[in-house]
Protein backbone atom coordinates (compact mmCIF):
# COMPACT_ATOMS: atom_id res chain seq x y z
CA UNK A 1 0.00 0.00 0.00
CA UNK A 2 1.39 3.34 -1.03
CA UNK A 3 -1.32 5.64 0.18
CA UNK A 4 -3.60 5.97 3.19
CA UNK A 5 -6.04 8.78 2.58
CA UNK A 6 -8.34 7.76 5.41
CA UNK A 7 -10.89 5.92 3.29
CA UNK A 8 -13.44 3.71 5.01
CA UNK A 9 -15.33 1.05 3.03
CA UNK A 10 -18.56 -0.38 4.41
CA UNK A 11 -18.96 -3.80 2.83
CA UNK A 12 -19.67 -7.47 3.30
CA UNK A 13 -17.45 -10.45 2.67
CA UNK A 14 -19.78 -12.05 0.10
CA UNK A 15 -20.98 -8.86 -1.60
CA UNK A 16 -20.17 -8.84 -5.29
CA UNK A 17 -20.25 -5.05 -5.41
CA UNK A 18 -17.91 -4.74 -2.41
CA UNK A 19 -15.52 -7.14 -4.14
CA UNK A 20 -15.32 -4.81 -7.14
CA UNK A 21 -14.33 -1.85 -4.96
CA UNK A 22 -11.87 -3.94 -2.96
CA UNK A 23 -10.10 -5.08 -6.15
CA UNK A 24 -9.90 -1.53 -7.52
CA UNK A 25 -8.42 -0.26 -4.24
CA UNK A 26 -5.86 -3.07 -4.33
CA UNK A 27 -4.97 -2.41 -7.97
CA UNK A 28 -4.39 1.26 -7.22
CA UNK A 29 -2.50 0.56 -4.00
CA UNK A 30 -4.94 2.56 -1.91
CA UNK A 31 -5.58 1.41 1.64
CA UNK A 32 -9.09 1.59 3.07
CA UNK A 33 -10.41 0.39 6.38
CA UNK A 34 -13.17 -2.14 5.63
CA UNK A 35 -16.10 -2.27 8.04
CA UNK A 36 -18.31 -5.36 7.80
CA UNK A 37 -22.08 -4.87 7.48
CA UNK A 38 -23.67 -8.29 8.05
CA UNK A 39 -26.20 -8.63 5.25
CA UNK A 40 -27.25 -12.06 6.48
CA UNK A 41 -28.31 -10.50 9.78
CA UNK A 42 -30.04 -7.56 8.07
CA UNK A 43 -27.53 -5.07 9.46
CA UNK A 44 -27.85 -2.98 6.28
CA UNK A 45 -31.39 -2.10 7.38
CA UNK A 46 -30.54 -1.30 11.02
CA UNK A 47 -30.85 2.36 12.06
CA UNK A 48 -27.11 2.59 12.78
CA UNK A 49 -26.26 1.78 9.17
CA UNK A 50 -29.16 3.64 7.59
CA UNK A 51 -27.72 6.76 9.24
CA UNK A 52 -24.60 6.15 7.15
CA UNK A 53 -26.32 5.01 3.94
CA UNK A 54 -30.11 5.52 3.75
CA UNK A 55 -30.22 3.17 0.76
CA UNK A 56 -29.52 0.27 3.09
CA UNK A 57 -26.94 -1.27 0.78
CA UNK A 58 -23.24 -1.90 0.51
CA UNK A 59 -20.72 -0.84 -0.61
CA UNK A 60 -20.53 2.69 0.76
CA UNK A 61 -17.21 4.53 0.67
CA UNK A 62 -16.56 7.31 3.16
CA UNK A 63 -13.87 9.61 1.78
CA UNK A 64 -13.60 11.93 4.79
CA UNK A 65 -14.95 11.78 8.35
CA UNK A 66 -18.42 13.27 8.57
CA UNK A 67 -18.88 13.38 4.79
CA UNK A 68 -21.80 11.47 3.25
CA UNK A 69 -20.56 8.23 1.73
CA UNK A 70 -20.28 7.50 -1.96
CA UNK A 71 -22.70 4.71 -2.84
CA UNK A 72 -23.27 2.49 -5.88
CA UNK A 73 -20.27 0.45 -6.98
CA UNK A 74 -19.85 2.00 -10.43
CA UNK A 75 -19.95 5.52 -8.97
CA UNK A 76 -17.28 4.44 -6.47
CA UNK A 77 -15.13 2.86 -9.20
CA UNK A 78 -15.36 6.00 -11.37
CA UNK A 79 -14.46 8.12 -8.30
CA UNK A 80 -11.41 5.99 -7.54
CA UNK A 81 -10.35 6.20 -11.20
CA UNK A 82 -10.54 10.00 -11.14
CA UNK A 83 -8.93 10.47 -7.72
CA UNK A 84 -6.20 7.83 -8.09
CA UNK A 85 -5.51 7.73 -11.84
CA UNK A 86 -2.60 5.26 -11.69
CA UNK A 87 -2.69 2.57 -12.83
CA UNK A 88 -5.60 3.48 -15.12
CA UNK A 89 -8.55 1.10 -15.16
CA UNK A 90 -10.12 2.79 -18.19
CA UNK A 91 -8.40 3.10 -21.59
CA UNK A 92 -7.37 6.54 -22.82
CA UNK A 93 -9.43 6.57 -26.06
CA UNK A 94 -13.13 7.38 -26.00
CA UNK A 95 -14.43 4.32 -27.89
CA UNK A 96 -12.29 2.12 -25.65
CA UNK A 97 -13.65 3.77 -22.52
CA UNK A 98 -17.17 3.23 -23.80
CA UNK A 99 -16.48 -0.43 -24.56
CA UNK A 100 -15.08 -1.07 -21.07
CA UNK A 101 -17.98 0.72 -19.38
CA UNK A 102 -20.47 -1.18 -21.53
CA UNK A 103 -18.93 -4.55 -20.66
CA UNK A 104 -18.95 -3.58 -16.99
CA UNK A 105 -22.64 -2.66 -17.22
CA UNK A 106 -23.49 -6.12 -18.59
CA UNK A 107 -22.63 -7.40 -15.11
CA UNK A 108 -23.32 -4.41 -12.86
CA UNK A 109 -26.60 -3.24 -14.41
CA UNK A 110 -28.04 -6.10 -16.45
CA UNK A 111 -27.36 -9.04 -14.15
CA UNK A 112 -26.36 -8.18 -10.61
CA UNK A 113 -29.50 -6.20 -9.64
CA UNK A 114 -31.61 -9.30 -10.30
CA UNK A 115 -29.91 -11.45 -7.68
CA UNK A 116 -29.51 -9.08 -4.72
CA UNK A 117 -31.01 -9.96 -1.32
CA UNK A 118 -33.99 -7.58 -1.65
CA UNK A 119 -35.05 -9.26 -4.91
CA UNK A 120 -34.64 -12.68 -3.36
CA UNK A 121 -36.84 -11.55 -0.45
CA UNK A 122 -39.61 -10.35 -2.78
CA UNK A 123 -39.60 -13.50 -4.88
CA UNK A 124 -39.58 -15.70 -1.79
CA UNK A 125 -42.14 -13.80 0.25
CA UNK A 126 -44.53 -12.67 -2.48
CA UNK A 127 -44.04 -14.94 -5.48
CA UNK A 128 -43.65 -18.28 -3.75
CA UNK A 129 -40.07 -18.94 -4.88
CA UNK A 130 -38.25 -21.67 -2.97
CA UNK A 131 -34.46 -22.04 -2.93
CA UNK A 132 -34.45 -24.05 -6.15
CA UNK A 133 -36.63 -21.48 -7.92
CA UNK A 134 -34.31 -18.66 -6.92
CA UNK A 135 -31.25 -20.65 -7.94
CA UNK A 136 -32.84 -21.26 -11.36
CA UNK A 137 -33.65 -17.55 -11.62
CA UNK A 138 -30.09 -16.57 -10.75
CA UNK A 139 -28.61 -19.14 -13.11
CA UNK A 140 -30.84 -17.89 -15.92
CA UNK A 141 -29.58 -14.30 -15.65
CA UNK A 142 -25.99 -15.39 -15.10
CA UNK A 143 -26.11 -17.59 -18.19
CA UNK A 144 -27.51 -14.75 -20.25
CA UNK A 145 -24.94 -12.23 -18.99
CA UNK A 146 -21.91 -14.43 -19.37
CA UNK A 147 -23.02 -15.54 -22.85
CA UNK A 148 -23.38 -11.91 -23.92
CA UNK A 149 -20.02 -11.09 -22.36
CA UNK A 150 -18.34 -14.03 -24.13
CA UNK A 151 -19.93 -13.09 -27.47
CA UNK A 152 -18.55 -9.57 -27.24
CA UNK A 153 -15.09 -10.68 -26.12
CA UNK A 154 -14.92 -13.27 -28.89
CA UNK A 155 -16.10 -10.85 -31.58
CA UNK A 156 -14.17 -7.68 -30.73
CA UNK A 157 -10.65 -7.02 -31.97
CA UNK A 158 -9.89 -5.08 -28.79
CA UNK A 159 -9.99 -8.22 -26.62
CA UNK A 160 -6.51 -9.22 -25.47
CA UNK A 161 -5.04 -11.02 -22.50
CA UNK A 162 -7.72 -9.14 -20.56
CA UNK A 163 -11.12 -7.83 -21.63
CA UNK A 164 -9.67 -4.74 -23.30
CA UNK A 165 -6.11 -5.21 -24.47
CA UNK A 166 -3.42 -6.58 -22.21
CA UNK A 167 -4.01 -4.44 -19.14
CA UNK A 168 -6.63 -4.86 -16.43
CA UNK A 169 -9.64 -2.54 -16.73
CA UNK A 170 -12.93 -2.07 -14.92
CA UNK A 171 -14.43 -4.67 -17.29
CA UNK A 172 -12.15 -7.31 -15.79
CA UNK A 173 -12.93 -6.16 -12.26
CA UNK A 174 -16.66 -6.48 -12.89
CA UNK A 175 -16.34 -9.79 -14.74
CA UNK A 176 -14.32 -11.28 -11.88
CA UNK A 177 -16.92 -10.03 -9.39
CA UNK A 178 -19.52 -12.07 -11.23
CA UNK A 179 -17.46 -15.22 -11.02
CA UNK A 180 -16.81 -14.62 -7.32
CA UNK A 181 -20.50 -15.16 -6.57
CA UNK A 182 -21.54 -17.48 -9.40
CA UNK A 183 -20.10 -20.51 -7.66
CA UNK A 184 -22.52 -20.01 -4.80
CA UNK A 185 -25.38 -20.33 -7.26
CA UNK A 186 -24.02 -23.60 -8.57
CA UNK A 187 -23.46 -21.82 -11.86
CA UNK A 188 -21.18 -23.65 -14.26
CA UNK A 189 -19.74 -21.78 -17.22
CA UNK A 190 -19.92 -23.69 -20.48
CA UNK A 191 -18.59 -22.71 -23.87
CA UNK A 192 -17.14 -19.45 -22.59
CA UNK A 193 -13.42 -19.98 -23.17
CA UNK A 194 -12.50 -16.30 -23.43
CA UNK A 195 -14.24 -15.44 -20.18
CA UNK A 196 -12.67 -18.43 -18.46
CA UNK A 197 -9.13 -17.55 -19.53
CA UNK A 198 -9.48 -13.91 -18.55
CA UNK A 199 -10.90 -14.73 -15.14
CA UNK A 200 -8.02 -17.14 -14.55
CA UNK A 201 -5.55 -14.38 -15.37
CA UNK A 202 -7.35 -11.98 -13.03
CA UNK A 203 -7.49 -14.41 -10.15
CA UNK A 204 -3.76 -15.07 -10.51
CA UNK A 205 -3.11 -11.41 -9.70
CA UNK A 206 -2.48 -10.45 -6.09
CA UNK A 207 -5.01 -7.56 -6.21
CA UNK A 208 -7.81 -9.97 -7.08
CA UNK A 209 -6.64 -12.84 -4.87
CA UNK A 210 -6.52 -10.66 -1.76
CA UNK A 211 -10.06 -9.41 -2.45
CA UNK A 212 -11.52 -12.92 -2.53
CA UNK A 213 -14.74 -13.17 -0.51
CA UNK A 214 -13.50 -16.21 1.38
CA UNK A 215 -10.54 -14.25 2.80
CA UNK A 216 -12.62 -11.42 4.29
CA UNK A 217 -13.70 -10.92 7.89
CA UNK A 218 -17.01 -12.67 8.53
CA UNK A 219 -16.57 -15.34 5.86
CA UNK A 220 -17.21 -18.94 6.93
CA UNK A 221 -14.04 -20.73 7.98
Amino acid sequence: MTDRPGLRLYGFWRSMATYRVRVALNLKGVAAEEVAVDLDAGAQLAPAFLAINPEGAVPALVIAPGEPPITQSMAILEYLEERFPEPPLLPADLPGRARVRSLAALIVSDMHPLIVPRVRAYLTDRAGFDDADFRAWGQHWMTRAVAAFEARLAADAETGAFCHGDEVTLADVCLASFVSVARGFGFARRDTPTVTHIVERCEALDAFARASPTLQAGAPA
Copy 2:
Protein backbone atom coordinates in the same frame (compact mmCIF):
# COMPACT_ATOMS: atom_id res chain seq x y z
CA MET B 1 -28.88 21.37 -33.53
CA THR B 2 -25.31 22.62 -33.84
CA ASP B 3 -23.53 19.44 -34.79
CA ARG B 4 -24.11 16.43 -37.03
CA PRO B 5 -21.33 13.96 -36.49
CA GLY B 6 -23.15 11.11 -38.20
CA LEU B 7 -24.43 9.41 -35.07
CA ARG B 8 -27.13 6.77 -35.37
CA LEU B 9 -29.20 5.76 -32.34
CA TYR B 10 -31.08 2.48 -32.33
CA GLY B 11 -33.94 2.90 -29.89
CA PHE B 12 -37.62 2.51 -29.18
CA TRP B 13 -40.20 5.15 -28.43
CA ARG B 14 -41.12 3.75 -25.00
CA SER B 15 -37.63 2.68 -23.91
CA MET B 16 -36.55 4.41 -20.73
CA ALA B 17 -32.87 3.92 -21.58
CA THR B 18 -33.33 5.35 -25.09
CA TYR B 19 -35.04 8.38 -23.53
CA ARG B 20 -31.97 9.09 -21.41
CA VAL B 21 -29.71 9.12 -24.46
CA ARG B 22 -32.18 11.20 -26.47
CA VAL B 23 -32.31 13.85 -23.72
CA ALA B 24 -28.51 14.00 -23.43
CA LEU B 25 -28.15 14.41 -27.20
CA ASN B 26 -30.73 17.22 -27.10
CA LEU B 27 -29.04 18.95 -24.16
CA LYS B 28 -25.70 18.88 -25.96
CA GLY B 29 -27.21 19.95 -29.28
CA VAL B 30 -25.96 16.83 -31.05
CA ALA B 31 -28.09 15.43 -33.87
CA ALA B 32 -28.45 11.69 -34.26
CA GLU B 33 -30.59 9.68 -36.64
CA GLU B 34 -32.91 7.52 -34.52
CA VAL B 35 -33.81 4.11 -35.88
CA ALA B 36 -36.80 2.40 -34.27
CA VAL B 37 -36.39 -1.19 -33.03
CA ASP B 38 -39.88 -2.46 -32.24
CA LEU B 39 -39.52 -4.13 -28.85
CA ASP B 40 -43.20 -5.06 -28.81
CA ALA B 41 -42.67 -7.11 -31.97
CA GLY B 42 -39.44 -8.66 -30.65
CA ALA B 43 -37.35 -6.89 -33.29
CA GLN B 44 -34.48 -6.61 -30.81
CA LEU B 45 -34.06 -10.39 -31.06
CA ALA B 46 -34.28 -10.62 -34.85
CA PRO B 47 -31.07 -11.60 -36.68
CA ALA B 48 -30.93 -8.23 -38.46
CA PHE B 49 -30.65 -6.38 -35.14
CA LEU B 50 -28.54 -8.98 -33.36
CA ALA B 51 -25.94 -8.39 -36.08
CA ILE B 52 -25.83 -4.78 -34.87
CA ASN B 53 -26.09 -5.47 -31.14
CA PRO B 54 -25.70 -9.11 -30.04
CA GLU B 55 -27.12 -8.16 -26.63
CA GLY B 56 -30.53 -7.76 -28.24
CA ALA B 57 -31.26 -4.53 -26.40
CA VAL B 58 -31.63 -0.83 -27.05
CA PRO B 59 -30.22 1.76 -26.98
CA ALA B 60 -27.20 1.19 -29.20
CA LEU B 61 -25.29 4.18 -30.53
CA VAL B 62 -23.27 3.83 -33.74
CA ILE B 63 -20.58 6.49 -33.79
CA ALA B 64 -19.19 5.73 -37.27
CA PRO B 65 -20.39 3.53 -40.14
CA GLY B 66 -19.17 -0.03 -39.76
CA GLU B 67 -18.02 0.49 -36.17
CA PRO B 68 -19.53 -1.68 -33.43
CA PRO B 69 -22.17 0.26 -31.52
CA ILE B 70 -21.81 1.57 -28.00
CA THR B 71 -24.33 -0.20 -25.79
CA GLN B 72 -25.64 0.30 -22.25
CA SER B 73 -27.16 3.68 -21.54
CA MET B 74 -24.70 4.82 -18.87
CA ALA B 75 -21.74 3.93 -21.10
CA ILE B 76 -23.37 5.96 -23.88
CA LEU B 77 -24.02 8.90 -21.54
CA GLU B 78 -20.42 8.90 -20.29
CA TYR B 79 -19.22 8.72 -23.91
CA LEU B 80 -21.36 11.69 -24.92
CA GLU B 81 -20.08 13.62 -21.90
CA GLU B 82 -16.46 13.01 -22.88
CA ARG B 83 -16.91 13.62 -26.61
CA PHE B 84 -19.24 16.63 -26.33
CA PRO B 85 -18.25 18.28 -23.04
CA GLU B 86 -20.56 21.31 -23.37
CA PRO B 87 -22.82 21.82 -21.59
CA PRO B 88 -21.40 19.51 -18.90
CA LEU B 89 -23.79 16.95 -17.42
CA LEU B 90 -21.39 16.04 -14.62
CA PRO B 91 -20.08 18.54 -12.03
CA ALA B 92 -16.39 19.45 -12.06
CA ASP B 93 -15.54 18.31 -8.50
CA LEU B 94 -14.92 14.65 -7.73
CA PRO B 95 -17.39 14.23 -4.84
CA GLY B 96 -20.04 15.97 -6.94
CA ARG B 97 -19.38 13.67 -9.89
CA ALA B 98 -19.67 10.67 -7.57
CA ARG B 99 -22.94 11.96 -6.12
CA VAL B 100 -24.49 12.47 -9.57
CA ARG B 101 -23.35 9.05 -10.78
CA SER B 102 -24.67 7.43 -7.60
CA LEU B 103 -28.09 9.06 -7.98
CA ALA B 104 -28.19 7.98 -11.61
CA ALA B 105 -27.38 4.40 -10.59
CA LEU B 106 -30.35 4.34 -8.22
CA ILE B 107 -32.50 4.41 -11.35
CA VAL B 108 -30.30 2.82 -13.99
CA SER B 109 -28.87 -0.06 -11.95
CA ASP B 110 -31.11 -0.58 -8.92
CA MET B 111 -34.55 -0.18 -10.49
CA HIS B 112 -34.67 -0.24 -14.26
CA PRO B 113 -33.17 -3.73 -14.79
CA LEU B 114 -36.04 -5.22 -12.78
CA ILE B 115 -38.77 -4.04 -15.15
CA VAL B 116 -37.31 -4.67 -18.60
CA PRO B 117 -39.17 -6.90 -21.10
CA ARG B 118 -36.92 -9.93 -20.57
CA VAL B 119 -37.66 -9.93 -16.83
CA ARG B 120 -41.36 -9.55 -17.50
CA ALA B 121 -41.16 -12.53 -19.86
CA TYR B 122 -39.47 -14.72 -17.24
CA LEU B 123 -41.91 -13.79 -14.49
CA THR B 124 -44.90 -14.35 -16.79
CA ASP B 125 -43.73 -17.55 -18.45
CA ARG B 126 -41.95 -19.26 -15.57
CA ALA B 127 -43.27 -17.75 -12.33
CA GLY B 128 -46.96 -17.46 -13.15
CA PHE B 129 -47.13 -13.67 -12.96
CA ASP B 130 -50.21 -12.08 -14.51
CA ASP B 131 -50.44 -8.42 -15.51
CA ALA B 132 -51.46 -7.34 -12.01
CA ASP B 133 -48.59 -9.27 -10.43
CA PHE B 134 -46.09 -7.63 -12.76
CA ARG B 135 -47.57 -4.21 -12.14
CA ALA B 136 -47.26 -4.77 -8.38
CA TRP B 137 -43.67 -5.91 -8.87
CA GLY B 138 -42.84 -2.81 -10.93
CA GLN B 139 -44.58 -0.49 -8.49
CA HIS B 140 -42.67 -2.05 -5.60
CA TRP B 141 -39.25 -1.32 -7.12
CA MET B 142 -40.34 2.09 -8.36
CA THR B 143 -41.58 3.03 -4.89
CA ARG B 144 -38.32 1.90 -3.33
CA ALA B 145 -36.17 3.75 -5.88
CA VAL B 146 -38.06 7.02 -5.78
CA ALA B 147 -38.17 6.97 -1.97
CA ALA B 148 -34.41 6.49 -1.81
CA PHE B 149 -33.94 9.23 -4.42
CA GLU B 150 -36.19 11.61 -2.49
CA ALA B 151 -34.41 10.86 0.80
CA ARG B 152 -31.05 11.71 -0.71
CA LEU B 153 -32.30 14.87 -2.42
CA ALA B 154 -33.99 16.05 0.76
CA ALA B 155 -30.95 15.34 2.94
CA ASP B 156 -28.08 16.60 0.79
CA ALA B 157 -26.98 20.22 0.80
CA GLU B 158 -25.97 19.90 -2.87
CA THR B 159 -29.59 19.61 -4.02
CA GLY B 160 -30.74 22.77 -5.78
CA ALA B 161 -33.24 23.60 -8.49
CA PHE B 162 -32.09 20.32 -10.01
CA CYS B 163 -30.65 17.18 -8.42
CA HIS B 164 -27.17 18.66 -8.08
CA GLY B 165 -27.16 22.42 -7.86
CA ASP B 166 -28.99 24.57 -10.35
CA GLU B 167 -27.82 22.96 -13.60
CA VAL B 168 -29.09 19.80 -15.24
CA THR B 169 -26.90 16.74 -14.72
CA LEU B 170 -27.08 13.05 -15.60
CA ALA B 171 -28.97 12.54 -12.32
CA ASP B 172 -31.84 14.63 -13.66
CA VAL B 173 -31.75 12.84 -17.00
CA CYS B 174 -32.02 9.45 -15.29
CA LEU B 175 -34.67 10.63 -12.82
CA ALA B 176 -36.81 11.99 -15.64
CA SER B 177 -36.41 8.72 -17.55
CA PHE B 178 -37.96 6.93 -14.59
CA VAL B 179 -40.96 9.21 -14.55
CA SER B 180 -41.40 8.81 -18.31
CA VAL B 181 -42.27 5.12 -17.83
CA ALA B 182 -43.73 5.14 -14.32
CA ARG B 183 -47.08 6.41 -15.55
CA GLY B 184 -47.47 3.29 -17.66
CA PHE B 185 -47.20 1.22 -14.50
CA GLY B 186 -49.92 3.23 -12.82
CA PHE B 187 -47.27 4.41 -10.40
CA ALA B 188 -48.29 7.43 -8.33
CA ARG B 189 -45.61 9.36 -6.48
CA ARG B 190 -46.54 10.24 -2.94
CA ASP B 191 -44.60 12.29 -0.42
CA THR B 192 -41.78 12.99 -2.83
CA PRO B 193 -41.97 16.77 -3.21
CA THR B 194 -38.34 17.30 -4.18
CA VAL B 195 -38.49 14.68 -6.91
CA THR B 196 -41.77 16.10 -8.17
CA HIS B 197 -40.50 19.67 -8.40
CA ILE B 198 -37.28 18.67 -10.14
CA VAL B 199 -39.10 16.51 -12.69
CA GLU B 200 -41.46 19.39 -13.42
CA ARG B 201 -38.47 21.67 -14.06
CA CYS B 202 -36.91 19.06 -16.35
CA GLU B 203 -40.06 18.47 -18.35
CA ALA B 204 -40.42 22.22 -18.89
CA LEU B 205 -37.10 22.21 -20.76
CA ASP B 206 -37.17 21.76 -24.52
CA ALA B 207 -34.48 19.05 -24.47
CA PHE B 208 -36.65 16.85 -22.24
CA ALA B 209 -39.96 17.73 -23.87
CA ARG B 210 -38.74 16.79 -27.35
CA ALA B 211 -37.50 13.43 -26.03
CA SER B 212 -40.89 12.46 -24.66
CA PRO B 213 -41.84 8.87 -25.57
CA THR B 214 -45.22 9.91 -26.88
CA LEU B 215 -43.62 12.15 -29.52
CA GLN B 216 -41.40 9.47 -31.06
CA ALA B 217 -41.98 7.44 -34.20
CA GLY B 218 -43.97 4.30 -33.42
CA ALA B 219 -45.77 5.73 -30.38
CA PRO B 220 -49.54 5.24 -30.26
CA ALA B 221 -51.43 8.20 -31.65
